[in-house]
């Protein structure tokens, strides 16, 4: 489909641009995406990120999460055990247009970012009341 191709190209351009702008490795946060009757909820593990350093962008059906994380200890030679690396979190999703982008909201607590992505009114199931005569 033409529209999908357009989204792909646009998104790809954006990713490339990001790559060129910022060096250093970026890590892919683990996410849960849960569909509720009225909204989609995206929960991402971004431990170590400050709420001020998290960028969430939604543009033309592409949802981008980018959290900047500075190294907490940079003296390589001091490490006795290193099971994980510290750096920016980055993840991109394409989302259909059946959401109400203006009402997307986000909260952050204990290293977990939660995005509320409301469905647009017309795709929400309507409740029809039946009355007994």
């Amino acid at each position: 489909m033409n529209t999908e191709t357009a989204v792909e190209k646009r998104a790809e351009g954006e990713v490339t641009q990001h790559e060129a702008m910022r060096g250093g490795p970026r890590y892919r946060p683990s996410v849960d995406i849960v569909e509720f009757p009225g909204e989609l909820r995206v929960m991402a593990d971004v431990p170590g990120a400050n709420p001020e350093s998290i960028d969430i962008n939604f543009e033309k059906g592409v949802l981008t999460i980018h959290a900047k994380v500075e190294p907490r200890h940079s003296q390589e030679s001091d490490y006795l055990l290193r099971e994980y690396a510290v750096g920016d979190y980055y993840r991109v999703f394409t989302v259909s247009e059946n959401i109400d982008a203006r009402r997307i909201s986000a909260e952050y607590a204990d290293g977990v970012l939660t995005l509320h992505v409301p469905k647009s009114e017309e795709v929400q199931p309507r409740k029809i009341e039946l009355r007994e005569n």
Partner: protein
Amino acid sequence: MLNGAFLGGYPVSRLSGEVERAFDHAFGGFPLGRGGGVWPVSVGRSFPLVNVWDAGEKLHVEAEVPGLKLDDLEILIRGSELTIRGERKKPDQEDVTYHRRERGAGSFCSKVELPVEIDVDNVKATLDNGVLTLVMPKASSALPRKIEVKVKK
């Protein structure tokens, strides 16, 4: 069901597959998260991952525990063995559809053998934005001792 309506576009695979479909029912082939990958329920070693560095008289231990509070964690030190255990609660939500489920839930227990003994009474634990930091003074027996050499006259 509305699921079909939320499948928009294809993943862009050229750049390490960073663009994904957000609402995809395909549960096979999850991308591995950093380090440990998918976190199965009730895992042993793989959560939390731990970094340890030497800061002279102290050891710094750091672990990523997103979604947990200090009260959810149990930190045990026996000699030079550190254990971090706890539980990340499973969400008990009904009437929802999971499109992706990569964040693990359940109980975990991580053991780390430290290179020296620790002064257990003076360990400080802080939790900030999902990162647990333990500052652990080395036991006096583990500190380097300067030995005076007396010159015999």
